[in-house]
Point group: C2
Chain length 331, copies 2
């Protein structure tokens, strides 16, 4: 019996908004693990806004996914065959599985403790949580009493950013789209206030809600939202540039933040980062995040879609804002 | 005999490009110094690009000059009458004289050592030199071997920035307008290369001259020049946002830097500052700068205009790029 490995490869480089047709479904033979390798059956895939950048052929922090190659992505799977010490069939592992049902892994695949919820592993305890943790604490240098503003606040990263800041006792305002997300932020995630960018004047509301200015602005969105936050930075503000989801699918680079110059009078700092640099320090983040989750200080949501054939459609949910919580696919 | 004090007051808030008619010349009585005060005859005035911001009624790092009040500005003058211990008639002093021929000062006026060249005191050893020194070393955190890019490089601040970097042994590229300024940068100021933004493709030239990217970008200009530099930042780059002379006289805020997002993949940092914060540390800067001037490592130019009645016209020279070196007026 020859089982087949279904995989999604990059079929074309999108121009503007990524489409499902930019990916093609292939069937190939299931590979065989060599010495020091494992064969993994993928059960879960995680989706990141940054994926849009990975499929552009532009300078970035990692090389673009080559045309015709399996789409890059994080996943959780089960070891089916092992020729690697310390890994047994049945072990749950997490790593760069790519969008494929079967994958050959090595020691770069991290074993998950038995009983781990793969949804938690792929969100709060995964890249998403690391991004929030190191972005806020290392790049944003959160201090006691800082007023924190988060855009994309109901997103997987933004919601953790705001809740870490709350766990540290700081006032936090979130910006999100729609009443449902805003209600979740204030009622479940403990944000002090939420601004609905779909129905409110974001810049005016930031001014009302942060009368002494914003000390740390964690921006996932870019564009007008970034400008609105820059208009209200406090002296010595740190603007953590984590993402610009508003721009990822635009054909032309949009104009930059008109208000960038506020960093001069306010002695502000805009800083970018790539979470990969902090992965060697993941254990300290995981320890804190696990504790906050256990204490109920970090609430999280996962938007779980079903079926391997829906991988491209699931990615697109991120850019329409359809997802609520970490975007996952159960295969 | 009642001598009159001529002074330039702010007559109107400019919309777009500042005009001479935004200032009005008044004559009032020469004031009398009270206890703890000195009467100073102003001999020199210094002009800064930032002055355009001081006469706008917008949030800034200092309050706007009120309408009808003497225009704010640095100057050097001579003590004519003293009721302040330690100051004698004939002493040379430097401070915020404003645009007026006579001014009442106090201990905030700094006594200059006998024989000081007022042009040097108002440029390399003044606000200009402090801005270059602390901007490059503290905000830019210059490291050995950094490739440094300076815009407005033939300006008073930019030329000192580049020469400090050269004194520290770093490769330095300057951006300036016109062949004369560019020649001065490479032939006199020791820059490794100069890019003439009036005749060259700035972004392409930066790429050629800085094949490993720019580690510190000291930007005085903003606009397209800032974008061109951002396109070539190296990993871990520091972008020192000192000024945006290209935008100061625009009626509408221009769009921001399209390439700001490069700071994410490159882990870059854009940081603004106001030199006032560093003035308590002026002595350390003055000591280094004086030594570099004495050693011929810092060359400097002053563009000296004549006659108090020409103060507004002299300011305008900064925004047309007519000046070459520190813009001064000898009264």
């Amino acid at each position: 019996m020859t089982e087949l490995n279904r995989r999604w490869v990059l079929a074309s480089r999108p121009v503007g908004m990524v489409r499902e047709s930019d990916f093609a479904l292939e069937e190939v033979e299931v590979p065989k693990p060599g010495d020091g390798q494992i064969l993994v059956r993928t059960h879960w895939l995680a989706f990141e806004p940054a994926m849009r950048g990975w499929i552009d052929d532009k300078p970035n922090y990692i090389p673009p996914v080559p045309l015709g190659e399996v789409m890059r992505g994080m996943g959780v799977g089960e070891v089916v065959e092992s020729r690697l010490d310390g890994y047994e069939p049945g072990d749950l592992v997490q790593g760069m599985t790519g969008w494929q049902e079967w994958v050959i892994g090595d020691a770069g695949m991290r074993k998950l403790p038995a009983g781990t919820d793969p949804r938690l592993a792929l969100s709060v305890l995964g890249i998403t949580g690391m991004t929030a943790y190191f972005g806020l604490l290392e790049i944003g240098r959160l201090q006691d009493g800082d007023t924190v503003l988060v855009s994309g606040a109901a997103g997987a990263t933004g919601s953790v950013v705001g809740q870490i800041a709350k766990a540290r006792g700081c006032p936090v305002v979130g910006i999100a789209g729609g009443p449902e997300k805003c209600r979740w932020l204030t009622d479940k995630a403990g944000f002090d206030a939420a601004i609905d960018y779909k129905s409110e004047d974001v810049e005016a509301r930031i001014g009302e809600l942060c009368p002494n200015g914003v000390d740390v602005f964690f921006d996932n969105v870019g564009g007008e939202i970034l400008d609105a936050g820059l208009a209200h930075i406090a002296r010595g503000a740190r603007i953590v540039v984590c993402g610009a989801i508003s721009a990822y699918n635009l054909e032309d680079r949009p104009s930059g933040p008109r208000n960038y110059y506020r960093i001069v009078a306010q002695r502000g700092r805009m800083e970018g980062f790539v979470v990969i640099d902090f992965l060697p320090r993941a254990p300290e983040a995981v320890a804190d995040l696990l504790q906050w989750v256990a204490e109920g200080r970090i609430r999280w949501e996962a938007d779980v879609q079903q079926g391997f054939e829906n991988a491209p459609a699931t990615l697109l949910r991120l850019y329409s804002g359809a997802n609520f919580g970490k975007q996952l696919l159960e295969i």
